[in-house]
């Protein structure tokens, strides 16, 4: 039989009982939709992370003191920032220093309720180096008792520009609030005080606790290699260099971990859908014994009958597969747009869905088709 005839003959059963065909295709549709949506959503969120990474850049490095050989907390030399700035491909260097002082919304709050906001001294170029936006010190205000609040810190304190906050043992004026810094979340949770002001009002000793270095993206690895010796020539082994964008990249890579579990779940749904199709086909073969007998009398070979029912099974599962693909794409697009992700579906996902559909269709059809082909052709002649 020509493919066209085969398709027409294979569709006979679906046309005769459309509601049954729809219901048995539904199982496949759910399975495929689940798998496509899982793949699509994780691809979209990964695309979003990569887009973030691209816009944030990968040139930022942090230097923090590690531990001394005797296991004590090391510290960075006062000259660290200046030294880091001397490296050729470095575009900017800045530092923060963790202060002992605590910040409170007012002097009436009990000392133990710090609200999880730390107080840090910041060098003038910090905002520049982090490529952040928001309120910042001028060289003048960095000498006065003023603070700039990180986005999270401002929320926790409930303070805005112009408010007074209680830092250490005196009132500081809030200059303003920084926008969130995805590559330096520790700044988001801090209240920043100008470097000179910290020395003057809060007894700061001038040793930085984190040095931020912005390097040319293509020479980041080289810069990272020389940073310990440059920043702390006496004890390069006591410094730790990190690349904050690595964390984002790792999250992008890890976006697949949960996906596999959900993908398995979709696979189970697909399997159940396949069993549903096989079941429908077995019933269909039982009901259509006379049609099969008639076709045999008209000259159909066993192979013709087998192919007819395999085609029917394939059509059923293809119907479900296409519906599932459309549904999955729709869910992906909806979810991605709802979360501000770019909707992304790799080409292999639809291709895989189609392949899985065909595989399920053939597998589900093999047994019913074999039963139909084995049926004796004399049944068509016997009375109904």
């Amino acid at each position: 039989m020509s493919p066209r005839d085969l398709l027409r003959v294979g569709a006979v059963g679906l046309r005769a009982r459309p509601s049954r065909a729809l219901l048995s295709a539904l199982g496949i549709a759910i399975g495929i939709a689940t798998m496509v949506a899982v793949i699509g959503i994780s691809a979209s969120s990964r695309a979003d992370l990569i887009r973030q990474l691209d816009s944030l850049g990968t040139g930022l490095l942090t230097v923090t003191p590690g531990q001394t050989v005797r296991g004590e907390q090391a510290s960075l030399p006062r000259t660290a920032v200046a030294m880091a700035g001397q490296i050729g491909p470095v575009r900017g260097a800045a530092a923060t220093a963790q202060l002992e002082a605590r910040i409170y919304r007012s002097d009436l709050i009990p000392p133990e309720r710090t609200g999880g906001v730390s107080v840090q001294a910041a060098t003038q170029r910090l905002l520049d180096t982090l490529q952040g936006t928001g309120a910042w010190f001028s060289p003048a205000t960095s000498r006065y008792p003023t603070v700039v609040l990180g986005a999270v810190a401002a929320q926790r304190l409930g303070a805005r520009g112009g408010d007074q906050v209680w830092v250490g043992e005196r009132w500081f004026t809030v200059l303003g609030v920084l926008d969130p810094l995805p590559l330096a979340p520790e700044i988001d949770r801090s209240a920043l005080v100008g470097w000179p002001a910290a020395a003057e009002h809060l007894g700061f000793d001038g040793h930085p606790t984190t040095v931020y270095v912005r390097a040319d993206p293509e020479s980041v690895t080289d810069v990272a290699a020389v940073l310990p010796r440059t920043v702390n020539p006496e004890h390069p082994e006591e410094t730790t260099v990190a690349r904050p964008s690595d964390a984002l990249a790792a999250r992008a890579a890890a976006a697949g971990a949960l996906t596999n579990l959900l993908l398995g779940l979709g696979g189970v749904a697909l399997l159940v859908g396949g069993v549903g199709i096989a079941n429908t086909m077995v019933v269909s073969v039982l009901e259509r014994r006379r049609e099969i007998g008639l076709r045999r009398a008209l000259g159909a070979t066993r192979t013709d009958i087998r192919l007819q029912f395999l085609t029917e099974s394939l059509l059923l599962s293809a119907l479900g597969g296409l519906a599932g693909l459309a549904l999955g794409a729709l869910v992906t697009t909806g979810y991605a747009l709802g979360h501000g992700f770019p909707p992304t579906l790799d080409a292999w996902a639809p291709a895989g869905a189609v392949a899985a559909t065909l595989l399920v269709g053939v597998t589900a059809g093999i047994y019913p088709a074999a039963r139909a082909a084995r049926l004796s052709p004399t049944v068509a002649l016997s009375a109904p």
Partner: protein, 243 residues
């Protein structure tokens, strides 16, 4: 519906053709027995020779083995012993593919219950008679239209089975059986579900369009119309008459 009393145009003259193989009989049974699993002996030694262009009625009570005989003539079943030759081919020696080809090209069937595909036009029902004979779709429909014309249903091509009377449905089934111009047309109680007027019309059409015709029936009046009658009882041929 008034289709059964409608004066249909006379079918075109009955085509004559040569049997598929030489001048031998269209069907030949020699010492044929058929025992079904469970021990039921449906045929107990049947010898029967059907020449080209014959019209034969097989009559007998239920259980006499006439249905089994039809199955064997139609190559839908194989004998337990003895030989069945259709157009010169020993059916026991043919693989499924060749048997199917024989049914597609050499044998036509008409059933008591018509077995038309519901929801499909008369034309497409008849065209399906050529589906397994490797005929291209356009050719199938062209020949189906001709076959429907021959059974007097040229005006019913687009009608679906439920829009046709019983007699018309059976004539569609006859058209489907002869669209491939089979050498042998087998009919199982073709008038069993029809009133006498449409039954007579179907019988007239059958004799007009079939090359070689074998009808199985209970109906003595119907059998009397055919020139040769084979009477069966208990799996044997007990009487033959020719008129």
């Amino acid at each position: 519906m008034s289709g059964t009393v409608h004066p249909d145009p006379a079918p075109p003259p009955r085509p004559r053709r040569l049997p598929a193989l030489g001048d031998g009989p269209v069907a030949e049974l020699a010492g044929v027995t058929k025992t079904y699993p469970g021990g039921v002996e449906a045929l107990r030694g049947v010898d029967l020779r059907i020449e080209a262009d014959e019209a034969v009625a097989v009559v007998g009570p239920s259980g006499s083995g006439k249905s089994t005989l039809l199955h064997l003539l139609g190559t839908l079943d194989l004998p337990s012993s003895g030989t069945v030759r259709i157009a010169g081919h020993d059916v026991a020696r043919l693989p499924d593919r060749r048997l199917a080809a024989l049914r597609a090209t050499t044998i036509g069937f008409v059933f008591q219950h018509f077995h038309l595909t519901p929801g499909t036009s008369a034309l497409d029902n008849v065209a399906d008679g050529l589906l397994y004979a490797k005929t291209p779709p356009d050719e199938r429909r062209r020949r189906a239209a001709l076959a429907l014309e021959r059974v007097g249903l040229a005006h019913r091509l687009g009608h679906r089975p439920h829009q046709l009377s019983g007699g018309e449905q059976q004539r569609v089934a006859v058209a489907r059986a002869v669209v491939g111009e089979p050498a042998l047309l087998l009919a199982d109680e073709p008038t069993g579900n029809l009133d006498s007027a449409s039954g007579a019309e179907v019988l007239r059409v059958l004799s007009a369009v079939a090359a070689t015709l074998v009808i199985i029936t209970h109906d003595a009046d119907l059998a009397a119309v055919l020139p040769r009658r084979v009477r069966m009882r208990d799996g044997r041929i007990v009487e033959e008459e020719t008129s």
